[in-house]
C-alpha cells in the first residue's frame, strides 16, 4: 500500500510562527519536498486560518494570487490550499484555477459541517480536486460522526480527513472512527494527527491499519502545541515498513526537515506539560495558557480546571468561560471544606 503523504508545514506549521515564512523558506520547502516526491504540498490557507492572529499573519495564511504565482514550479507534487468556510467566502476561491493549486481542502468543525457541501460543489465547479477535513473529531461521538458523514457522503469528496485537533485520541479511538467512516463514505480517508499524548505516529499507524490512505504530516512536526506527525518520520517509517510503500525520497525529506529545524523553527517541537494537559483534557492547545493563568489567580489546579473545560466541549474558550469554571470549582471546594470542618 502506497499512502498519499501530504505535507502541511506551510499551513498548519504557520500556527508556530504566525505564518511568517520568508520567500526563501517557501521556495526551499516546496522545491525540496517536490524533489523528494512527497505527494501533496499544502502551501497555506486561502483567506485566513480563522484564528485571532489572522490580521498580522504572514503570506501562507492568505495564499493571495501573488503568493501562489510566486511558488516554484513543481514536477511531482500536487499543491493544495486549505479553506475555512467561516472565514473565506465561497467566491474567494474563483481565481484558484489560474494558480498552480490543484486540491482545495475544506476544513470544518462538526458544528458547522452544514456549510461544507456548498464549498465542495464550488471547488468541483472550478475543476479542482476537493478534500474535507473534519476538525475536533474527538468532540464527536460515533453517532455524531455518522451524522457528519451523512452530510458529506453525497458530495463524494476526493478525500475525507479526520483531524485530531486536540491530540486527544488513542489508537482505538482512531480505529473505531475510521472503520465507521469506511462503511459510510465512498471516498478515500485521511488522518491529521496531533502529538499531545505522544501518539501522533501511533494514531497514524492505527489509521493506516483501519483503512486510511492519506496521511497529513509537517516537517519537524511544526504546528501549534505538540505539533503533528513529522513528515520525515512518516517518510522514514513508510520506507522501513515492508507492507507500506512510499514515493518519498527519505534523504531529501530529511534535507527539507533540516532546513526547517535550522532556519524556521525557533526551537524544536516538544511535548511538555502544557501540551499533555490539553491532550488529556481534550481541548484546544491555545486555551491552555488562559486556563493556567486564570486557575493560578484562583489558586486552583489547572489540570482539574482544564478537565472541566474539555468535558464541556466548548466551541470557544474565552476568559469568562474559564472564570465561570473556576468560580464553580472554588464554590464546590469551599462547600466540601465546609462540610469537612
Amino acid at each position: 500500500m502506497k499512502p498519499t503523504l501530504l505535507d502541511c508545514t506551510l499551513r498548519d506549521g504557520g500556527n508556530q510562527n504566525d505564518w511568517q515564512f520568508t520567500a526563501t523558506d517557501v521556495h526551499t520547502i516546496v522545491s525540496t519536498l517536490d524533489a523528494a516526491r512527497v505527494d501533496v504540498i499544502e502551501v497555506g490557507y486561502r483567506g485566513g486560518s480563522g484564528s485571532k492572529s489572522s490580521a498580522t499573519a504572514g503570506p501562507s495564511a492568505h495564499c493571495t494570487p501573488e503568493y501562489l504565482a510566486a511558488l516554484p514550479a513543481v514536477s511531482h507534487a500536487e499543491l493544495a490550499v486549505m479553506v475555512v468556510p467561516t472565514v473565506c467566502p465561497v467566491t474567494a476561491m474563483d481565481d484558484l484555477p489560474d494558480s498552480p493549486v490543484s486540491l482545495v481542502r475544506i476544513a470544518a468543525y462538526p458544528w458547522n459541517i452544514d456549510g461544507v457541501p456548498e464549498y465542495v460543489r464550488a471547488v468541483r465547479a472550478l475543476g479542482l480536486k476537493v478534500g474535507v477535513n473534519l476538525m475536533a473529531v474527538s468532540y464527536t461521538t460515533l453517532e455524531q460522526l455518522a451524522e457528519v458523514a451523512a452530510v458529506v457522503a453525497g458530495e463524494a469528496p476526493d478525500v475525507f480527513y479526520i483531524a485530531d485537533s486536540f491530540g486527544a485520541l488513542t489508537p482505538d479511538d482512531v480505529r473505531r472512527r475510521i472503520e465507521l467512516l469506511a462503511e459510510r463514505l465512498p471516498t478515500p480517508l485521511g488522518i491529521h494527527a496531533h502529538n499531545n499524548l505522544g501518539l501522533a505516529a501511533a494514531n497514524a499507524v492505527a489509521g493506516l491499519d483501519a483503512g486510511v490512505s492519506w496521511l497529513d504530516a509537517s516537517l519537524c512536526a511544526m504546528a501549534r502545541g505538540a505539533g503533528n506527525l513529522a513528515t520525515e518520520q512518516a517518510a522514514a517509517f513508510l520506507t522501513a515498513w515492508p507492507k507500506y510503500d512510499t514515493h518519498a525520497d527519505l534523504p531529501l525529506v530529511c534535507e527539507a526537515a533540516e532546513y526547517v529545524a535550522e532556519q524556521v523553527l525557533p526551537r524544536p517541537m516538544t511535548v511538555r506539560r502544557a501540551e499533555i494537559a490539553a491532550g488529556i483534557n481534550d481541548h484546544h492547545f491555545y486555551f491552555q495558557d488562559r486556563i493556567e493563568k486564570i486557575s493560578a489567580r484562583h489558586g486552583l489546579d489547572p489540570w482539574e480546571v482544564g478537565r472541566r473545560i474539555g468535558a464541556a466541549r466548548p466551541r470557544k474558550v474565552l476568559d469568562e468561560t474559564v472564570e465561570d469554571v473556576c468560580r464553580e470549582l472554588a464554590g464546590q471546594t469551599e462547600h466540601t471544606n465546609g462540610g469537612d470542618a
Copy 2:
C-alpha cells in the same frame, strides 16, 4: 490492564550527559517519580555501561554502594539497576541486598546471551528480582530470537525485555517478536523502544497489544540519539486509554519531566536526520557520526554507507570498518562508471 511502567532516565538517559546527574538531579527524579507512583525507577548501571566513556562517566554509570545508600527513601516505587555481564563481574553484585535496590536487569546482546544465566542465578541467590534485557533485537531473525529465548527460558526471569536499541523496528516487527516470545517464555514480557523512526510510542502500543506488560520509558525521552518512549507521554496515553490503567499520577510525572527539561537536558530530544539514518539503516546511533565523517572524506553518500554497515550487522563499528565499506563502495562506483564510459 495495568502495565508496569519503568523509568530509566538515570540509566539510559545518562548516555546523553555521560551520567553526570547531580545529587539534586538524582534526588528530584527519584522522589518525584516515587510520589507519582511510577512502578520501577532504574537508578543506573552497576559497574559501568560498557560504552567507551565509562571511565569519565558520572555516578549513575556505576551505582557504587555510596551512591545507592544516598538515594532518597521511596514509598511506592521499586528501585532497579542494570548490569552488563561483559563489564561487571558477577561477584560485583554481592552488596546489592544491602542497598534499596530490589530488581537487577541483566543486559546482553544476542551474541553474548550465553553469559546471562549465571547472572540470573546469582541475582536470585541474593534474594533479588531479576530481569533480562535483550539488546539489538533488530539484529535477530525470529529463528535466532527463539534460540535466545531457549537460553533464558529455564531461568524464568521476572521479566524479559526486547530492546530496540537501534530504533529500527516497525510495529509489525514488534508484534511478531512478542508473539513468539509469549509462546516460549513463562515470564512477563517488556519492551524498551527507541524513537529513531518516530515509532517509540507506536511500538510500545504494538507491544502492549501483543502481550507486553512492562514498558521502559525515560523523562523527556532522555537517552542516546533519538531517545526512548517518554515517561510522561507513556503515563499520558495509559491515563487517556480506557483499556489500560496506570498507577502513575500524570501531573507529578509531568513535574519530573519539567525538571529534566529545564535542569538536566541541554536541549530537547529530537529525531533529526542522523537519528533517522541510524534507525532506517539498522545500526547503533553512536556509529552515525563516524559514518558521516568517513563517508564525507571519501565523497560518498552516508546513507548508502550506513545501509551497508547496518546490513552487515557488526558487533562493533571501528573507523577501519567504515573505511573498508567506503573503499568497497568506491571501488564498485568506479567500476560501474568505468563500464558506462
